[in-house]
């Protein structure tokens, strides 16, 4: 345990702090680089919706620039201070709700949907990859590889459209859109959970369907390169039962790069699920982002980008840290 807390762990924390700082700073710099003075656009929209206090005006300038006579570092310090206090100003599309309140309303929906779909896809894809890669070149492998290339090339949101068309419109098996039936009160009641799960089925299926093949291709290639290693041959020569050779010897080593790939791909899955949510009008961060884009709601967009980036970074950090526990070699590198 003391080893774990040694230098690499501290280094990793340092890296993620740096990455988080980069995301925060990109968020600060972008609106100031963009043409068309977003701050004025926001203030104009806000003044249409209601009276804008001086305090509000200052906040918008702090987040998006455009104020006269203030140095950029003064704005930057104010901006960082606001971020620490989760103060992102008010959303325009949900005026006068604050951005942090709006983001909070969608966060849990997305986390549960994307989280469970990602885990299902990873387990399923890796399992299929083990089977396909154990005997490379067999019919199952060839057909599987071709199918997975095709599935992998399908755009997320288009798959979502097709699923809506087939299962909601034509067959009527699943609800069209939303996160739960409108009449049901959210909470841990059987009614609500049942309704929420039924609504989540198609969006989750979309995410699983489009990301499962990535894991499969990855695992298959690693398996194919591991099956001829000496230790696998030795395990077979010792006469160990087939499933033990496959899972405890070959797959156990082949899965390591998949797990570190898992960390990087979390960002892609979250990105892709944003579009999926838009199609299903699922009440998560993706639909909020859609609202923000349609209504040119820069404050909400900024807040969403930040919270999505930071969540992905946190997920990466957790997977990275777990990786050290699984692969002793990364520990010895210390």
């Amino acid at each position: 345990m003391t080893r774990l807390l040694g230098t690499p762990f501290v280094q990793r924390i340092g890296f993620y702090v740096l990455a988080a700082w980069s995301a925060v700073t990109i968020n600060f710099v972008l609106p100031r680089l963009m043409p068309g003075d977003p701050a004025s656009a926001i203030l104009f929209k806000m003044s249409e919706l209601g009276p804008v206090s001086e305090q509000q005006e200052e906040l918008v300038h702090r987040l998006f620039g455009g104020a006269r006579g203030q140095s950029w570092w003064h704005e930057y310090v104010g901006y960082l201070n606001g971020i620490v206090h989760l103060d992102f100003g008010r959303s325009i599309s949900f005026y006068p709700a604050t951005v942090s309140a709006v983001v909070k309303s969608g966060f849990l929906w997305t986390l549960l949907l994307v989280g469970s779909a990602t885990v299902i896809a990873f387990v399923l894809g890796t399992g299929l990859g083990i089977v396909a890669g154990w005997r490379p070149g067999r019919a199952l492998d060839s057909v599987g590889s071709l199918t997975s290339i095709f599935l992998h090339s399908l755009p997320y949101f288009w798959v979502a459209l097709i699923l809506v068309y087939v299962f909601s419109f034509t067959l009527g098996w699943f609800p069209l859109s939303g996160g739960a039936d409108i009449g049901v009160v959210p909470g841990f009641t059987p009614d609500f959970l049942n309704s929420a799960v039924r609504h989540a089925m198609l969006p989750a299926a979309t995410i699983v369907l489009t990301s499962v093949s990535g894991w499969m291709i990855h695992m298959r290639n690693m398996m194919a390169s591991v099956v001829n290693e000496d230790y696998v041959l030795l395990a077979q020569a010792k006469g160990l039962p087939g499933h033990r050779v496959v899972f405890s010897y070959a797959a156990r080593n082949a899965v390591l790069p998949s797990i570190s790939g898992f960390a990087v791909s979390i960002g892609m899955v979250v990105g892709g699920s944003l579009l999926t949510e838009m199609v299903f009008n699922y009440p998560g961060l993706g639909s909020l982002l859609n609202q923000a884009i349609v209504n040119v709601d820069y404050p909400l967009m900024q807040g969403l980008f930040l919270i999505i980036s930071l969540t992905v970074l946190a997920a990466n950090f957790v997977v990275d840290s777990l990786y050290v526990l699984i692969d002793p070699r990364t520990r010895e590198a210390a």
Binding site: P155, L161, A224, L275, M301, F305
Partner: protein, 304 residues
């Protein structure tokens, strides 16, 4: 290229053929559609609204009577061009950052590696959406391609970095370095040629990724919805209720177009993989492995 085709790998040939056909459609398709077929991708009420595929309109019409086939062919141009330009920018940055961060062992290398890793963990699509919603379609498809290229290079750079790390200590690279060759010469004459297969596959997937990213941007309306591309076709199909009216001919073609390009790239990549990494050659299916066995026999005969 000749080695690929001479290898007789059907996957590579099939993939390259599809890609070449798509490029041809992107180049001459719009002209053929407007002058030979007399259809327009923007003309309203060219036919009855929401009509299925027929002799007059090969892929039916939209809710405002625009010919879907003309839209699809014309949209290929924007999608493929954004794919090529975005893919080129992304690949260029990936090679540049990957090479330099992998080749330098000192502080520069460490700093660049950190930079690459940070871009790797910051999710690309939300960043892309954020920038695109600030620009709001200003600058046309070229600006979109630029933004896509700038936000999608990190994954490729990591692969290039790993490859460069293993190459930099090989004897031939060390020899070039110690014989006093300039660093840029060592990188471009010794290291880059050995990275060629990896660069080729990065480029292919960067093109596919850019096409998909462009479609995604247009689909949610963050691009310019007045241009005709595969993404805007899906945007209008979704917002005009193509699903509700069962107009499958409207929303199927753009998605299948993207998937076709992606599958072709995947096929080519499989072939490149087999050439660059002999361990993966086991992947060949029955008839092909027989052929490679024959080739092996012939080679030993020559050696004898």
């Amino acid at each position: 290229m000749r080695r690929l085709v001479a290898g007789g790998d059907r996957k590579v040939i099939l993939g390259l053929t599809i890609l070449a056909a798509m490029l041809l459609i992107a180049l001459v398709g719009p002209v053929v559609v407007s002058s030979l077929l007399g259809q327009s991708p923007t003309k309203l009420h060219a036919g009855p609204a929401l009509a299925g595929p027929s002799g007059d309109h090969w892929l039916g019409t939209t809710s405002s009577g625009v010919d879907v086939f003309a839209q699809f062919i014309t949209g290929t141009r924007v999608s493929v061009f954004v794919g090529l330009v975005g893919g080129t920018i992304s690949t260029f940055l990936a090679v540049l950052f990957g090479l330099v961060s992998g080749y330098h062992t000192g502080r520069t290398g460490a700093a660049l590696t950190g930079f690459v890793n940070i871009f790797l963990v910051i999710p690309g699509l939300p960043l892309l959406l954020l920038i695109a919603s600030y620009t709001r379609g200003r600058g046309g498809w070229a600006a979109v391609a630029l933004i896509i290229g700038l936000t999608s290079w990190a994954g490729g750079a990591r692969v290039k970095r790993a490859q460069t790390l293993s190459l930099r200590n090989r004897d031939f690279v060390a020899a070039a370095r110690y014989s006093g060759d300039k660093q840029s010469r060592v990188l471009f004459m010794e290291v880059v040629p050995h990275l060629a297969p990896v660069i080729a596959s990065t480029f292919l997937f960067a093109v596919v990724g850019s096409i998909a990213a462009e479609a995604g941007l247009d689909f949610i309306g963050a691009g310019n919805t007045n241009t005709v591309s595969w993404g805007t076709m899906l945007y209008w199909a979704q917002s005009q209720g193509a699903l509700q009216s069962g107009a499958w001919w409207w929303f199927l073609p753009p998605g299948l177009g993207i998937a076709l390009v992606g599958t072709a790239a995947g096929l080519v990549n499989f072939g490149i993989d087999e050439l660059s990494d002999p361990r993966r050659r086991t992947l060949r299916t029955g008839s092909q492995s027989k052929r490679s066995k024959r080739r092996k026999v012939r080679r030993t005969e020559v050696a004898a």
